[in-house]
Symmetry: C2
Subunit: 341 residues, 2 copies
Amino acid sequence: MAKSKHITIYDVAEQAEVSIQTVSRVINNRHDVSPETRQRIQTTIEELGYKPFVNARGLAAKRTFTLGLVAADFSDFWFSRVVTGAEKEAQKLGYCFMLGSSACEPEDEPKFLRLLTERHVEGVLFVRANRDNKCDHLLRLKEFGVPVVTTGHHLPEIGLAMVDVDNVSGGYKATNYLIGLGHTRIAMITGPSEWKSVSDRTEGYLQALQNAGIPIDQELILTGSWLHQSGYEKTKLLLNKKNSFTAIFAHNDRIARGAIHAIYEAGLKVPEDISVIGYDDIPEAEYSDPPLTTIRQPSAEIGQAATNLLIQMVEDSTVIPKQIMFDTTLVIRSSCRANKS
Amino acid sequence: MAKSKHITIYDVAEQAEVSIQTVSRVINNRHDVSPETRQRIQTTIEELGYKPFVNARGLAAKRTFTLGLVAADFSDFWFSRVVTGAEKEAQKLGYCFMLGSSACEPEDEPKFLRLLTERHVEGVLFVRANRDNKCDHLLRLKEFGVPVVTTGHHLPEIGLAMVDVDNVSGGYKATNYLIGLGHTRIAMITGPSEWKSVSDRTEGYLQALQNAGIPIDQELILTGSWLHQSGYEKTKLLLNKKNSFTAIFAHNDRIARGAIHAIYEAGLKVPEDISVIGYDDIPEAEYSDPPLTTIRQPSAEIGQAATNLLIQMVEDSTVIPKQIMFDTTLVIRSSCRANKS
DNA sequence: GTGAAAGCGCTAACAT
DNA sequence: ATGTTAGCGCTTTCAC
């Protein structure tokens, strides 16, 4: 049982014939240790396989080297990619992520405040964790003096640090691609209207249409949820209204899949009759029928950048909360084609 | 800055006019405190909003109330559902999950051993985190005396606790459904052969065939990866070999999607020409074309059960590592139909 | 450049 | 039933 005999700073000090403080200095990369002593201690640390006990360190230095992670939805593809990137970066810099509550309703606030009061995390990363109109808890955290970085949506007005995708440009890209293909009757099925990403993608859509001199038809804009079902139902609505349209811009790939499903069910074809473009580039997109043309968002990169920023803020309180924007990429596959009508 | 003035056990003791020891007893639900004193302390704790500092507690009691989470792939749908269930259960029982490395190759071992040596997690939950033949690190953990629960695969031979799906029965269910539909030439595209779940699903397939008196044709069994592409390529192979078959059992929904894609590309239809059944019931399954018939695995339930078991093992070392099996459900949609040939 | 002492917030072992 | 005394493993003073 290696557990019972855990190697402490005392073991290292004894073996290297120095005091524990000197060992402590080496661990913390202090410069006031002579090169020889440092080397000798370094070696014994290696030999003994000594690892400082973060808990004890935290108690003494009032630090935990722990970050909190709160997310709206763990089962979201985008989220999991962000987390993978975030974890990697945290590890690199000597931090760990503690999982907070996955839900993020106001009534869950006590749950993730537990991260602060009990676990004393030094910063919190929110991954797509709230809607625009519900950010009280984020402000609360700020009051606590805890650095917060948000991801996947932004609230510039409250000066929160955030790392996000340029959704206006993404929406523009999607719509403009369709316009370039000759479409003028372009429907849009959005995500829930409370999301910043939704209003941004919508703005991009509107801008592209305006730039091309295409009149905006409110009848072609439908608000849905993020789920397949929403795409399916809204498209059926669109189809029934016999409001002519030749293309759909879906706010995510799931909606796009739902839409294609409805189109097939109506006896029409994609892209022959109607072009569909999605958003996200989930793994399913490439192998669905037809392979989905979509807007890819960088995700691991966002997680990494967000974590890096968070740790910067943790380690240096003078770092001002930045807003970092990543760009999207248009991924052309086979769900869109030139408009013949 | 609420942060600077943190409430400690001393504040509570002073306010309640007792020693910190008595407060400690109340926090830890000890029974040797008089009801009145307990009540008085309880009240002051509420009033002051006191939260014990887990770090300090850990130092003194050699406990961290922290669990480690290691996963093969964060971006896997199944994984994220398991985690959601796991997190909820941990929270309920006063524990937190620390994210370990997401990869799980032997060379990553130091990375997640860090959870033990530095973070002193009290138990580790592995979510679909390894192949059968690479479990040295799990054994290493066991040697450390750290409770380990694995999920999504099992290694009964080494007596590890695990919570899993009955994949033999799942494979049987899928195959038997196809047989019931009149299919006798049933191809199977498996996941990577090192996975326990793969050999189990294969066994279920074989059993069903045998029970029905259908001869087994090795040519119809292809080994692939978990990705869409694998389903796509293997199906093309199957199609080219003009080895007649009327149905495919795919080891996950992604493979199934890839297979359907290949079938469409060959000018054939699903389910008219070939029936396809998947495994997992990912959200995409319901809204793909055709909606995918598949085997659903409980996921959140598995995460919850695994965490519960892990905590039991942490709190009581006499708890024997159990093996808990969950059952699968056949979800019938439209990608399979009766064989007419 | 290095060491000794004090203490972080809490619990375990003894006291009473 | 409650209080006292030691630490847990580390970092921070402040000495030398």
